[in-house]
């Protein structure tokens, strides 16, 4: 029985148990709560007024810009985690390559900030 098997088994068991808790409470609520639907209850809530306009509207482009920036740096983080655990015993090349990598991305971040790509307006 390797440690990794135990790790993954623990995650699987926790997933099943967590789902169990959630669906048990849904089931309890399902048998205990009343159900009397009406047109008024099913109206989307807008502070008590009748809803106006479209519901699924277009969103501003700025949200996508932030998502793309997040993706860049999140991928960097995926590389950083394994590096963080091995770089001490792996010699100068490994260390300075990652410093260079972070440097390039830092330059990109500064460029993005200067260009106003990360400006919320």
């Amino acid at each position: 029985m390797s440690d990794y098997t135990l790790d993954y088994a623990a995650v699987a068991i926790a997933g099943v148990a967590g789902l169990g808790v959630v669906f048990l409470s849904f089931f309890l609520s399902h048998i205990l709560s009343p159900r009397r639907p009406s047109a008024q209850k099913a109206t989307p809530y807008e502070c008590g007024m009748l809803p106006q306009g479209k519901f699924w509207d277009q969103l501003h482009l700025r949200y996508y810009l932030f998502a793309i920036f997040f993706l860049i740096f999140d991928v960097e983080l995926v590389f950083l985690f394994p590096w963080a655990l091995v770089f001490l015993g792996a010699g100068p090349a490994v260390f300075f390559e990652m410093v260079l990598f972070i440097g390039v991305l830092a330059f990109a971040l500064v460029y993005g900030l200067k260009k106003g790509a990360l400006k919320w307006q």
Partner: protein
């Protein structure tokens, strides 16, 4: 097969502990908020209102669950499940004392980062599927805020991982036995706390479910048990972030005289009370201020912090140099923040709005 039984029993015990903790935290928050605002808080249910959360939970179970007209049926029903499940699953590897854990994984910190990132999907599903424009706006804000603050949060964790040279939370606590990491890298701690507050969407970072402008954010159309799931996720996450702060920066369960569990719970509840106190004290940030704080200050600072820790480890410098460098960087970062808020920002940022932090027009 005895190990399966062992894991299952530990999991059930942790889930039971979490449900109890959530009920207690809700009562605690209402009571403390009440006293801060010179009210009494819950009073009627049992002495000091201790059963208030139980009464609330019963009410939510007995309440009719509504689905608005035109909502996307499957996505609407799955939203709360996707939001609450990661919050529960994170607790697989968070220890309450040495050995008092479901499974102290070797990839512990990485697992927590990976799983807790899924929660935001549940909230976006909820907001998008509700057929309500405020919910949709709340979902977009949720996504923007969560992903922006995830970077400094994960980078702060990475600093701890580099120092401990391990991803297991048990190992990280053992490494802190003479000095907790708070003393070694105060900047990582500050980054973790600020970004953690934002991930929890607590004040001052609660713009995405700001009641006064977008009613209830992504959860506005939910009621009954499904709404309770979002609430439960929020409080389980609050407890997890507080416990992680105690484990990673304050030496976890280490402490004199008292038993291990008592030390960890004391440190954790200190953070919980601090977060409740902030909620009663701070106003909320505007969304442009929120994003500027993340991208202009926290992310660059967190990367600089990682580089400093890397050089410190690689050249085997003495511990006090890291503490000093960490404090110095935090100090340098405070200068532009102070200048922005005191109205002494450089002329170019004052005349043209560059999306920075709020500028006080003191000399207008």
């Amino acid at each position: 097969m005895s190990w399966v039984l062992d894991l299952a029993l530990r999991t059930v015990a942790v889930l039971g502990f979490l449900v109890f903790t959530v009920l207690f935290l809700i009562w605690l928050e209402r009571k403390v908020l009440g006293r801060i605002q010179m009210r009494m808080g819950p009073m009627r249910t049992a002495p000091f209102g201790v059963l208030q959360s139980v009464a609330d939970a019963l009410k939510l179970v007995l309440k009719e669950g509504l689905r608005p007209d035109g909502a996307d049926r499957w996505v609407y029903h799955l939203g709360p499940v996707v939001a609450v499940l990661p919050a529960l699953m994170v607790w697989v590897t968070i220890p309450l004392a040495g050995g008092l854990v479901v499974q102290d994984m070797r990839l512990g910190v990485f697992y927590i980062v990976a799983i807790s990132g899924v929660s935001v999907v549940g909230m976006v599903m909820a907001g998008w599927s509700s057929n309500n424009k405020y919910a949709l706006l709340g979902a977009a804000r949720t996504a923007a805020q969560m992903i922006s603050y995830e970077l400094p949060l994960v980078l702060a964790l990475l600093g701890v991982v580099m120092l401990a040279q391990s991803l297991s939370l048990g190992d990280i606590v053992e490494q802190q036995s003479p000095w907790p990491y708070l003393l070694l890298q105060p900047l990582s701690f500050a980054l973790f706390l600020i970004a953690g507050l934002a991930e929890l969407a607590r004040n001052p970072f609660d713009i995405y479910h700001a009641d006064t402008e977008i009613v209830g954010g992504p959860f506005v159309e939910y009621s009954g048990i499904r709404w309770a799931m979002f609430f439960m996720a929020e409080y389980v996450n609050l407890f997890a972030i507080s416990a992680l702060a105690a484990l990673l920066f304050l030496g976890g369960w280490k402490g004199p005289l008292l038993p291990d569990v008592v030390w960890l719970l004391t440190k954790t509840y200190a953070f919980v009370l601090f977060i409740i106190w902030l909620r009663a004290t701070l106003p909320r940030l505007r969304i442009d201020q929120l994003m500027a704080l993340a991208w202009r200050y926290l992310v660059p600072l967190a990367f600089a912090n990682i580089l400093v820790i890397a050089f410190y480890l690689y050249y085997q410098m003495p511990g006090w140099t890291l503490s000093l460098a960490s404090l110095a960087m935090a100090g340098i970062a405070l200068v532009p923040l102070y200048r922005h808020w005191s109205g002494r920002a450089p002329a170019r940022t004052r005349t043209a709005d560059r999306g920075g932090l709020p500028k006080v027009e003191s000399r207008a």
